[in-house]
Amino acid sequence: MASTTPPQRRQRADASMSLLVDLSTDALDPGYAAAAARKRAAGVDDRPRWALVGATVAAATLVIVVAAVQTRASAPAAAKSRSALIAAVDRQSATVDRLERSIATLSAEQAKLRDASLASTGAGAALARRIAAAELALGNLAVVGPGLRVTLADGSAASGNNRVSDRQLQDVVNALWTAGAEAIAVNGQRLTAQSAIRQAGDAVLVDFRPQVSPYVVTAIGPAVDMETRFGASRTAARMRGTSQLYGLRFDYARASRLTLPAAPDATLRFARPATAATPRGHS
């Protein structure tokens, strides 16, 4: 079936296709046809040396199997397949979610028992109040109040710079704290002292949870004051410029009632209370 006739002068029109055409028509090594023609011409009918063929086939199969084994063996170590990695990330995210949910239920049950027990003594009640105040300040308590809602979203153009980056989100959050925010959440993820905003591909991870555009940053605080101070901040000016240049969405508006969820409780694994303390301001 191999055609080795040179292309006709008349077929100049599809000359550019010749590579693909040759690939398909010459798919079978022309050596076979040449060898067959040669054998016919010489009148010989050589039977193939099957031992040789067998050895080659065994070698070929060996190579293929070794490659397959190799790929499987290195899969857990480096997970070359992206979809396997993504599936693993999804699985771990689901596990983390499940664990956080059970922690939340367990904590809630125990909090009820604990609160009941603490309320029965004076010292206990005072301790409970201190804990509640600290939770409020840290972010472990759901809160409601007026404030500002800032929305950032990726631009729809295909240009490279139109994705909201983790640095931009960090800047906006930083500017909101400066403007007087008392509690901030990004896409419903409450920020605490340990919350990090970090980027991977298209997604920005807030507290290790992937979030997608649009990113809604809600901040509770004095609404009018925050709007003025945030609007006048360098971050807002930069974001307005970036928004115009690259088509990102950046806008903010006051909200009279924002509800921010509680962040899950955290335990410390490395930090312990120190005995000596230095008052603030000493270096």
Binding site: I103, R114, N174, P273, R280
Partner: protein
């Protein structure tokens, strides 16, 4: 026009409304299967859209982060289950409740900056004689350390020392960096308590904090790990005036 002179329209009508032959049923089944596969693939790609374009290196580190977090959460669950036993027992309930409350108060104290803390960690020292370092570097350092699991942090410079908490905000005042309003001048010392290796790696990634500082004229960053660092700067507990506890439905 087909062979026996039917118009396209007639062929179409005939094709749409005639009874299907077995061959056509076979073709139809295959087309249905293809459509099903296409839709499934589109939904799969859409579903994993958030991470679909992340680089494999990013995915590997996200996976490592998530696994570490899952391990921490699992030990937290174990702790909670132990304390559940103590709390549900009537005789131990009160003392257990008090002990747990004290422990929680301590944890919260460290996280909110009202208690001094000690533990393994790192010290990031930034030398900056030409005052090239601005607030963006400090912010980046704080975020990287948080991402690496820092549990308590403080930053010190000429001008004061500030405990870093949830609401910590950095800014610039002239050529000095301000942290929560306190203006600091280099050399800056950022102390963080956590796993020293993880914290040090986070600061040392290519293009990370150490690289950025070192590439600024005259500035230099050093990360020192230590089995014991102290975070002794304190701050008063914030008393929110606009945020109040939400009425509690279940989360």
């Amino acid at each position: 026009m087909s062979a026996d002179g039917e118009s396209l329209h007639q062929r179409l009508v005939r094709a749409l409304f005639a009874r299907p032959s077995p061959a056509q049923l076979g073709v139809a089944a295959l087309c249905g299967l293809l459509a099903f596969a296409l839709v499934t693939q589109v939904r799969t790609t859409a579903g994993s859209g958030t991470l679909a374009s992340a680089r494999p290196d990013d995915l590997v580190s996200i996976l490592a982060d998530l696994s570490g977090r899952a391990d921490r959460l699992r030990s937290q669950v174990a702790d909670l289950q132990r304390s559940a036993a103590l709390l549900s027992n009537g005789t131990t309930r009160d003392s257990a409740a008090l002990a747990q409350a004290r422990a929680r108060a301590q944890t919260l104290g460290i996280l909110t900056g009202t208690l001094a803390a000690r533990g393994p960690g790192i010290v990031l020292t930034i030398q900056d004689p030409s005052l090239e370092i601005h607030s963006d570097v400090v912010l980046n350092a704080i975020e990287e350390l948080r991402d690496a699991g820092a549990e308590a942090m403080q930053i010190a410079g000429t001008g004061g020392v500030v405990r870093i908490v949830t609401s910590t905000a950095v800014g610039d005042l002239g050529s000095r960096v301000t942290v929560d309003g306190v203006a600091l001048t280099a050399p800056l010392h950022l102390v963080a308590i956590g796993d020293p290796r993880t914290l040090a790696t986070a600061l040392g990634i290519p293009g990370g904090v150490v690289d950025t500082v070192d590439s600024s004229a005259g500035a230099h960053a050093i990360v020192t790990t230590s089995p014991s660092v102290s975070v002794t700067a304190l701050r008063a507990l914030a008393k929110p005036r606009y945020a109040s506890p939400a009425p509690a439905p279940t989360p």
